[in-house]
């Protein structure tokens, strides 16, 4: 194809490096023969692309309707209290980054919490402590 696939390039860079740093934008633009504005435009458009490196573990809480009906807002509050961070932030020691997502397709076994690559279903606020303990 003649069209440069900016998204693909950014996703694979992020996969390797953990994030797409602003410094990397110029290099990608050069490599694909496009402008930095084009690359920055794609980077800023997609929620799953980010510029800052996340913590050692990334927690994503599903806020979709089935998870909402099953108490994800309580889970979120509880996580915020425990980790003392807001959505999008990383804990002091750089251990956890807290994020949300809109649906993991696990609605029948909701509410859903994803930590790194592990998906947990039917999560109760009372289980959060033990769950976080598993991640050192």
């Amino acid at each position: 194809m003649t069209v440069p696939n900016i998204l693909k390039a950014l996703l694979s860079l992020q996969e390797r490096e953990g994030a797409v740093t602003p410094a990397a934008i110029g290099g990608i633009a050069h490599q694909l023969g496009t402008t930095t504005a084009q690359v920055a435009g794609v980077l800023s458009y997609y929620p799953d692309l980010h510029c800052a490196s996340p913590g050692r573990h990334v927690i994503r809480l599903c806020m979709g309707e089935s998870c909402y009906a099953n108490g994800c807002t309580r889970l979120l509050r509880s996580l915020q209290d425990r980790l003392r961070v807001d959505v999008g932030e990383t804990t002091g020691g750089g251990k956890f980054t807290l994020g949300t997502m809109s649906c993991a397709g696990n609605c029948a076994v909701s509410p859903t919490v994803i930590i790194d690559r592990d998906l947990w279903g039917r999560v109760l606020p009372s289980q959060l402590g033990a769950l976080l303990e598993r991640y050192k």
């Binding site: 069209v3 799953d48 089935s66 909402y68 009906a69 649906c103 696990n106 076994v109 998906l119």
Partner: protein, 502 residues
């Protein structure tokens, strides 16, 4: 195979993401080294309230144990107290067409797929002219399962008749509606069915290449699909009329609006996934400006059976204008969440009673939402609506992708409405003003009401804003966004009024 293995009892356990989340993963871990069993990892039957479910063969078919823990192994090996799978009411009451293989087969076993009737549709298609394939689809009256419910044959005919040096088939696996998971199940559980549907489409329109645009949120689905593609390739299935027909999986990056076909094509080409006005329709000018069929996974997965059993047979199911079966996905506060495939026409109440099994323990019904975050809310008094496209359209609602989420008495409707508007404000692609600005203003008004500083005028403003978004938005995200909010206000007015500043 040594003697020990030959003696081992075959147990079937689903490897589906939700089954794993429900405990199948830890069962597999606990049992992996047990010489007395041989674990077969199947797809899930979709009775997720019973997962993890373990099955074994018996003289009368499969027998199952529900909500299994590792300690249940002796009981299962003794063969006592199992339930014959066909006698589980949740499954027995369904009409499984597209989901007929679920729970039965190993997702990546091509031989099993074929043994259960897979590839017959493709075989038929290869012996038909493109026009005849499209005729068969017309006879089936299949409508796209993704949301717009457009007749599939019509779209294919346009692509077929448009002259071009290259055409594409794109499967939309960006199932973004929260509360829906049937695409994920197909991708993980019966991937060859999707590939077969795409090949049939390619053959009908004369396409030379296929893509599956899979959301980033479904890593297991993307991995399974890649493996299925490699297996199909090895079996020399990925070719048409002697020409290769490569299929590639392309990942999205978390944007909801990329489920809209024009935005999806932009994103597939690697740019910002922004919606563009139609016409031209993708069937005429799609990916890289070439004729492209974009259909969702469920639609493609339905096609092999239509070709193998005939359009007329398919049309004999369901209702006149909503033919065939629909995959409904129950979630939220029902007792029995899971996937249900039934012919169109049952009422919402019947679906909730017969399959949902009533409310989860301790929960009382408040409202149900059909069709994802842009779907209307139904109170108890409106549950007799039949599940079909026309009845929903008449009620100002959408069936969407078939997600059904039940909310209980503890749900705060003002907060729920704010939740929906915040979703739209987050996901708006920014192309048109009513959605880009309207959703942010809508969210602010709802936040005001929530904080107790809203007035009656704010409710009126919200109504006006909603009407404007409905008629003036470029795509369904902005156009549908007011529905859950306005139906929440319509059916639960007291909750909104009691929060207003007097």
């Amino acid at each position: 195979m040594n003697d020990e293995c030959r003696m081992a009892t075959r147990l079937y356990l689903s490897n589906d993401t939700s089954a794993r989340a429900a405990g199948a993963a830890s069962l597999a871990e606990a049992w992996v080294d047990r010489p007395e069993i041989q674990l077969i990892r199947t797809s899930s039957r979709g009775a997720f309230y019973l997962e993890p479910m373990v099955e074994r063969d018996s003289a009368d078919g499969r027998v199952a144990w529900f909500n299994v823990t590792p300690d249940d192994l002796p009981r299962i090996l003794s063969g006592k107290n199992g339930t014959p799978v066909p006698s589980i009411p949740f499954l027995a009451r369904q009409t499984r067409v597209t989901f007929a293989n679920f729970g039965e087969t190993e997702p990546l076993a091509l031989g099993e797929y074929q043994a259960r009737g897979g590839l017959k549709g493709l075989e038929q298609a290869l012996n038909m002219s493109p026009e005849v394939i499209i005729e068969e689809l017309k006879r089936s009256r299949l409508r796209g399962r993704g949301g717009a419910a457009f007749p599939v044959w019509n779209k294919w005919q346009v692509a077929q008749q448009t002259e071009a040096d290259e055409k594409y088939v794109v499967a939309n696996a960006d199932e973004g509606d929260a509360g829906t998971y049937c695409d994920r199940m197909i991708l993980e559980g019966d991937p060859f069915r999707l590939l077969e549907g795409m090949l049939i489409c390619a053959r009908a329109i004369g396409a030379g290449r296929g893509y599956v645009y899979c959301r980033h949120e479904y890593p297991a689905a993307a991995a399974t699909l890649w493996e299925a593609i490699h297996k199909a390739d090895e079996a020399e299935l990925l070719e048409l009329d002697g020409e290769p027909f490569p299929i590639e999986v392309v990942q999205g990056a978390g944007s909801y609006v990329c489920g809209e076909e024009t935005a999806l094509l932009e994103s597939l080409a690697g740019g910002r996934g922004v919606v563009r006005a139609k016409p031209p329709y993708p069937a005429q000018e799609g990916l890289y400006g070439k004729p492209t069929i974009v259909s969702n996974v469920l639609t493609f997965a339905t096609i092999p059976t239509i070709l193998s059993r005939g359009g007329a047979w398919y049309a004999s199911l369901g209702t006149e204008r909503s033919s065939g079966t629909m995959a409904l996905q129950l979630g939220g506060r029902v007792k029995q969440p899971g996937l249900v495939e039934v012919p169109f026409g049952l009422s919402l109440r019947q679906v909730l009673d017969q399959f949902g099994g009533g409310m989860a323990p301790g929960a009382r019904f408040k409202a149900v939402q059909v069709g994802g975050p842009l779907g209307s809310l139904f109170p108890a008094s409106k549950l007799d609506i039949p599940i079909c496209y026309d009845a929903f359209a008449q009620a100002g609602a959408v069936l969407g992708h078939g997600g059904i989420v039940v909310y209980d008495h503890e749900t705060d409707m003002v907060d729920l409405a704010r939740h929906f508007m915040a979703f739209t404000a987050n996901e708006s692609c920014g192309k048109c003003t009513p959605c880009r600005i309207g959703s942010v203003r809508g969210r602010e008004i709802l936040e005001r009401i929530q904080a107790g500083s809203g007035t009656v005028d704010d409710l009126v403003l919200l109504g006006d804003l909603g009407e404007t978004m409905k008629v003036a938005s470029l795509c369904a995200l902005g156009g549908r966004a007011p529905y859950p909010v306005l139906t929440a206000i319509e059916h639960f007015p007291a909750e909104f009024r009691s929060r207003l500043r007097t």
